[in-house]
Symmetry: C2
Subunit: 565 residues, 2 copies
């Protein structure tokens, strides 16, 4: 079967210069999704793979290119959907890959073609957006080079890409069943932390694990550098649960990119990275070339129950074999509960002076979302303003374009009773409702969202939630610890050089304020990127300008009210 | 949402008397399919459940009743389809529940309504017919009572029902991935044998299993009897792999029913039962009532790696608590490799003299199927005449009624080069092809199928294959050990009182000959009922009179070429 002409709207190209248009290429990818028995941490487990691998192949393209991914579902009984995380899908909202929001799932035996333009350079990722398939292995990197003639505000001699993940030996089906059980059956902390899909289960009393220790698929990744050169490390986290701290032993990092946007450079010993975030850091290969160095990832924000994830930095021409473990103990990162350490890095991440996109000075609408754990019929859920999200039976985009505007509740709660609310106590009203309510935004309006973190059901406990917005980048206007006061805190917003991101941390007992322009016609999920939290209801959905969306492709339909239509 | 009027064709009722029609009831069942963490053998595992249970609820109806089962799929990412095993679906071929053959799978969130008539009394079962969901727990019993005024040819005072199964701790997804791997990763023998969904993992060194040993869900089932009374035990096997021998310690059994047909009664110490078969046996409660007795199931035909599955027979009014284990060791059954022991029981199973349905004296067509293990691209498959079956992307029934008669190969091999073929040797030509070829039968014609067993890929190895035919019962005309000779063996066929069955064993190195009339318009699978064998290609599909099938219900469509139609 040949390639069909990619379905594209003219407006896709509006923001690109004629010159870059002329250069734009189409990058074809042919993927087959299948179950494979893999041993990423030397312990064999069922994985959902792309062309037999997890993570899947890295998509490489240049700014302005069209990416075409033809996905064949060769699973047995299970459907799929793949999200292109950080790609705004301007003009192609049906290609966002969010099951229940922008498309029906892809059935076993079916082939679905995703076609979209990568209109900004930077580091992105892709992953399943259906059930808990992301955790099952369906994820990978997208690297978009700057268009030729569009210089980046930093220089480097070579680059490496690092995809960080956490990994469990229990199946994702079992994890999901446990999360929905009453009482909740919690899978526990991950068995391993993976670097580019490789790790080493540390507590392997099992003979099987030991006998697999020489498997190439769980050999530690080696990143080679030439002495004296500067390297860009693209670092992405697709973890299901864990907030991570990433360190390259003995090498300071300069942070230069976050979620595809240039950062005012700042130097760190190590990088805090939350699920759904991407960064680029520069390192100089200026250490003793005759030994190797650890790349270490450590769990932060939750009390770690998982060994440090490791890989190796090795110098070309040095006297150490690339495969030799460094002579040191891997770095253990900062104290896991040092919230302020992470908070300071969040605040330090602002736009590069030469790449500031000034936010609109004020918002047309402000949505204040209280993040709490709740109970519904005895089951533990996450909720926003006491509403726990559930996906509808017919994807929003499809339902709304079919004239079913009234199919969803359209009056979700805009705020919560924040005055006098004790975010440090266990919530008094633990009741929540489930809803597929849709936040409809006026097209072109400016929207502020303030995410307010609070205590969980257990006393003295508040987690970090990395919130991810589809279809947009948002300006990060401010962070705080404590209760957000709409009368006080907006005055402290950074309107000068806020970074644009698509994923941002809300720190324990803290708040994060962000702003975006509702100028991308479509329906867009906004949710905590911890997979179990979204599964348990921690998300909402925005709609804007759906009337401006062109004719939907037939292939996103076939479920719910569009089954058999 | 209210009940819709069941979709029925008038012809459904043609074979029922006016009297029974007047009595016929409609039995409504509302099912929700979901993942649950269950501990059927005291070890917790993910199961696919019906209304939270595995096995699911027993469907009870009387001959002539209409059964309606509204199935809501509440799985996360996985589709379902449910087959009503032994129900011929005359007039409702779209309700057979065979994914890829008679319907598209039911998507998560969707509800599918199965409506069919149970036109014969007897013992049947239901189970998923999609991927390996049957093994994952989606199965149960159907018990159809004789219509009032239609006496059965035996008497009893009470009845019990026993559903036998085998159970693994590895997930079915993992099992399937292993079966498709090169080299094959075999899950090994089952961890437990279950009786009505309960067993006890015998090799439980794990502390977890021990701590779960008091769970009610894995307590041994107790079957209570009144001294002096006669009981009908309905016994069904839904095993994925295991051939079983079932014994009630100290109580001889009289076999009276097989697959819904009355058997010329014969007495056995224990009953061999293959996956997909059902039997009724009578026992007399004539033993010492002051002790309990074992119900024991043991693996036969494969070298057992699984402990005896047990339950308890207890007498009312005796001095033993129903929960007290019998004072003996559970029966271990016949030698696992005593093929002739099982062969003799097969041959002994003939029609009850008062219920003989004489087969047509000769066949219009004879299909001779050689059962072999083969390799395709290095993967191990099962094949018939060196063709390994694969399901098509669009279900046959849907494709054919949509005028896509040419969508499938329609010339599958009718026979194999049987003259001089050495069934006792490893097959010389191990190459096979995969195909979704369809055997099209002339409507109303009489078809003979001879299933010829042979050696596997490993020397000196031949397994028992229980073959199951959808949409029909067939007469079992004969069994043999050795190579079937079309010029010799048909002369020995039992044309006098052959039993009608829907599932029949093909013994190691043996052959089984069966006959049926192609008089049920539809498309019908015929396959080995060992789940992994069908997954690996051991099946074919028959079509007959598809032009006589009425308008298909919309809800069976929505996949393959009917996606979005």
């Amino acid at each position: 079967m040949g390639w069909r002409r990619p379905r594209l709207l003219c407006c896709l190209f509006l923001s690109l210069s004629a010159a870059s248009l002329a250069r734009a290429a189409t990058r074809y990818n042919e993927w087959e999704i299948s179950y494979q028995l893999r041993s990423p941490d030397c312990v064999r487990k069922l994985a959902v793979t792309i062309n037999g691998q997890t993570p899947g192949p890295t998509i490489r393209a240049a700014q302005g290119d069209t990416v075409v991914v033809r996905v064949k579902n060769s699973l047995l009984t299970e459907n799929v959907a793949i999200h292109w995380h950080g790609v705004r899908q301007r003009g192609t909202p049906w290609a966002d890959g969010t099951e229940g929001v922008t498309q029906c799932p892809v059935l076993p035996g079916d082939t679905f073609t995703y076609t979209f333009v990568v209109d900004r350079p930077g580091t992105y990722m892709y992953h399943a957006h259906y059930g808990m398939q992301r955790s099952a292995g369906l994820n990978g990197l997208i690297v978009v080079a700057a268009a030729p003639g569009e210089p980046e505000p930093f220089a480097y001699d070579g680059e490496h890409a690092v995809l960080l993940n956490d990994w469990w030996h229990a199946s994702t089906y079992e994890q999901a069943a446990g999360l929905a059980s009453v009482p909740l059956v919690w899978v526990g902390e991950p068995q391993s932390l993976l670097n580019n899909g490789r790790g080493r289960f540390a507590d392997c009393s099992a003979a099987a694990a030991a006998s697999n220790a020489s498997l190439p698929e769980c050999a530690a990744p080696v990143f080679a550098v030439v002495p004296g050169k500067t390297y860009r490390f693209r670092v992405a986290s697709v973890t299901s649960l864990s907030a991570l701290n990433f360190e390259i032993e003995g090498h300071q990092m300069t942070v230069v990119e976050a979620d595809g946007h240039y950062v005012k450079p700042f130097v760190v010993k190590n990088l805090n990275i939350y699920s759904g975030e991407t960064y680029s850091v520069l390192i100089k290969a200026d250490q003793d070339p005759n030994r190797n160095y650890w790349l270490a990832s450590n769990v932060v924000s939750r009390k770690p129950g998982t060994a440090t994830g490791t890989a190796v930095l090795s110098y070309y021409g040095g006297r150490s074999s690339p495969r030799r473990p460094p002579p040191t103990t891997p770095p253990t990162g900062p104290a896991w509960d040092d919230t302020m350490y992470r908070f300071r890095q969040s605040v330090a991440t602002v736009a590069h002076p030469a790449h500031i996109q000034t936010p609109p000075p004020c918002a047309d609408r402000t949505i204040l979302l209280l993040n709490t754990q709740n109970r519904i019929n005895g089951a533990i859920k996450w909720a926003l303003n006491n509403v726990s999200f559930t996906l509808p039976h017919t994807p929003y985009l499809v339902a709304m374009k079919s004239g079913l505007l009234g199919a969803f509740d359209q009056r979700p709660p805009e705020t919560y009773a924040h005055q006098g609310y004790d975010i440090y106590g266990v919530q008094k009203n633990q009741n929540a409702t489930t809803s597929d309510a849709l936040y409809r935004l006026q097209f072109g309006s400016v929207v502020d969202v303030v995410l307010q973190n609070a205590n969980m059901l257990a006393p003295n406990n508040s987690e970090t939630h990395p919130w991810h917005l589809h279809g947009h980048d948002f300006w990060v206007l401010g962070y705080g610890i404590g209760r957000f006061d709409p009368a006080v805190h907006p005055a402290s917003y950074n309107l000068k050089d806020p970074i644009l991101k698509n994923t941002v941390a809300v720190h324990p007992y803290g708040w994060t304020a962000l702003r975006f322009k509702a100028d991308n016609p479509g329906v867009w999920a906004f949710h905590c990127h911890i997979e179990s939290h979204f599964f348990m209801g921690m998300g909402i959905v925005f709609e804007e300008g759906v009337e401006r969306v062109g004719k939907l492709p037939q292939e996103i339909m076939g479920c719910g009210m569009t089954k058999g239509h």
